[in-house]
Symmetry: C2
Amino acid sequence: MDSIKIGMIGFGTVGAGVVNLLQDRGDSLAERVGVKLELVRVSVRDINAKRDARVDPLMLTTDPYEIANSDNVDIVIEVMGGEEPAIGLALQSLKNGKHLVTANKLLLAMRGEQVYQAAEDAGVELGFEGAVAGAIPIIRSIKNAFAADRISQVQGIVNGTGNYILSRMTDEGKAFDEILKDAQALGYAEADPTFDVEGIDSAHKIAILGSLGFETPIDFGDVYTEGISAITPEDIDMAREFGYRIKLLAIAKRNTDSIDVRVHPAMIPADNLIANVNGALNSVEVVCDVSGTSMLVGPGAGSGPTASAVMGDVVDISRKIINGAAGKTPPLSVPCKSRTKIPVRPMDEVMSEYYLRFTVPDRTGVLSMIASALGRHKISISSMIQRGRMENEPVSVVLTTHMAKEANLKKALGEIDDMNVCAAETMAIRMVGAG
Amino acid sequence: MDSIKIGMIGFGTVGAGVVNLLQDRGDSLAERVGVKLELVRVSVRDINAKRDARVDPLMLTTDPYEIANSDNVDIVIEVMGGEEPAIGLALQSLKNGKHLVTANKLLLAMRGEQVYQAAEDAGVELGFEGAVAGAIPIIRSIKNAFAADRISQVQGIVNGTGNYILSRMTDEGKAFDEILKDAQALGYAEADPTFDVEGIDSAHKIAILGSLGFETPIDFGDVYTEGISAITPEDIDMAREFGYRIKLLAIAKRNTDSIDVRVHPAMIPADNLIANVNGALNSVEVVCDVSGTSMLVGPGAGSGPTASAVMGDVVDISRKIINGAAGKTPPLSVPCKSRTKIPVRPMDEVMSEYYLRFTVPDRTGVLSMIASALGRHKISISSMIQRGRMENEPVSVVLTTHMAKEANLKKALGEIDDMNVCAAETMAIRMVGAG
């Protein structure tokens, strides 16, 4: 074998990073693998689009199936993103016996089981380190490093844009909208930031990590998702006063007969390491029965880190091809059929401590109405702060609660809402303990 | 193949962890691997010693070569530690075609090249995740995850005992000796703490990580090593005043034509994530050209974490055996012969900023003598604090310097020493910038 032939589907930011890495480090990669890694074909939507990397124009095609069906491609890199047509291309590539490396988190969150099974059936390699948390080696750590252990929890900050916005809100005391606009101007947030700020991107990633860590299929529809767009500078400020930081947390957790898989803003004790992961950094904590808690931190996205992760998989797979070891081990390390479905616990049954901020008139009796509504639903208060005292203006009443059931909180907040005393929407943020 | 047969050399803390993990999680491991993992023989120094795990006494032998030479062992786990007789046993096991998993950092730091070459020659698997930083998956991350990237630096806190002592000194303001005694009583430090507190254990680990990351053999004698036993509460206090924390740092760094491999206390900016890795935790930062800086944090030692890492390797190798992929890829991912020797830069040539604490009489002219000695050797001062003003008592003069060459600092401190003005040994701590 003279070289490993690579076909790439998609040529956006990550694709450009891959091309640059292949061009800049070609000799070194060849040395590490034993043969040259050769990019032979790249499919794009628009041949003439501007890109941050250059390839021979003859290499480009607008038909991605040319790559999935090519006789001249050993490894397909899929960096086009999205569910369709990526799923068809991934399955076709695998069916044709090509090894697949993908950075497509949406695809794996929605259709992972199909992709894993197809790779296993075809006896080929599947790499997806780049799909979650950029260059942070979380996928192979879960698949291999903690293979002898039992993972009880995977939790982290897996969206760089959201973390960047929250960090700047925390540092500068400014409102979400203002920081978002600036983040968009600086290229940290996309024109449509929904996936990042509403937690959907984080949900994709935690669905993949949870599925891998607990060896179970996860229906993406079961992942509870709540974003950061409602967080106010006041909440961040109050969090600080309580000794906490607000982070957008993705949580996958094992219960006795179920798992939790959810994304929402969380208050984390300020001295917890994860509370100090700021800017666009990502971090993932893995809790194991025997080895305890490990945490991986790093740049979670961007052309360089994601391309490095994608190419790390390509190098790994290429070495296996050269050494005759490719496709020998199933893509998830365990056969798909050994994975058993563990139900996701409905959000209503989750227990948390809560931070609650009510905007109410500064009037005798209001606080007692709120407290008794909470009490009726078995929610007990652990601390209270009242803020603001402008005449005739509503004030903020901030409560923290002891452990309470999500369903009970919803009912209590509904009743409080019905009292028509609140001058603005009540804010509830779950508090997550240290460790 | 009905089962994978495991022989274990050594049955101390880590060995007991391995036995417990095999017993407690046997079914789950069998499911993950496809066949049972069976411990068949364990060599010990003393058959009757008390241990934290139990095996059938008939399994025990006092002759470790029974394991290295057994026809009934597929994987040898070496957890006896030390250089001799471990090296002979490791080489013999490999020569006999057994896969080897070792947690012996001293062995790999001193004799790694021999072990790597022997594993490659024999076409067997070699796992050593447990040798560095416990369950933190740093070995496989360097070998595989960052395989397409170029590692420019590996740096971290890789000794839990040292970090525990420094963290408590920082929290409690107490002296090294007092905390060490307490750490010994609590089991955090050994009766002879030399390896941990003098940086030797960290040096073993950074030699292994540097060798792997830069693909070069490293002579352990070239690793500069300085411990934490001379650090005083005053230094920790002054560090805090400057906005720094003191950590025992292990550093492997690429220069243009050389590498740095060294262990010494370092002042790290307090807002740097690594400065906040406290207690017995370890953390390793990997800086890559393309993907930037990633950091891995976790329990760096102890029975559970190390056993989990050892067994992670055993599971990995067992899967490869079952799938016919074992020994196909060289143990360091690249063939030993492709590793080229990069010289370790002599410590004298290393550039640092320094924290310097002089203990001198509070007398006109002393400070100017010190400043001119530093100036003569091109060391410029960036800040100065004088502390204490008891009559007739010496005071502490603390200086921080701009970048200076180690050799120049040594000469300057030698000259200052010769002036006979210092009432106590001068303390010099290197300051390490953020990122």
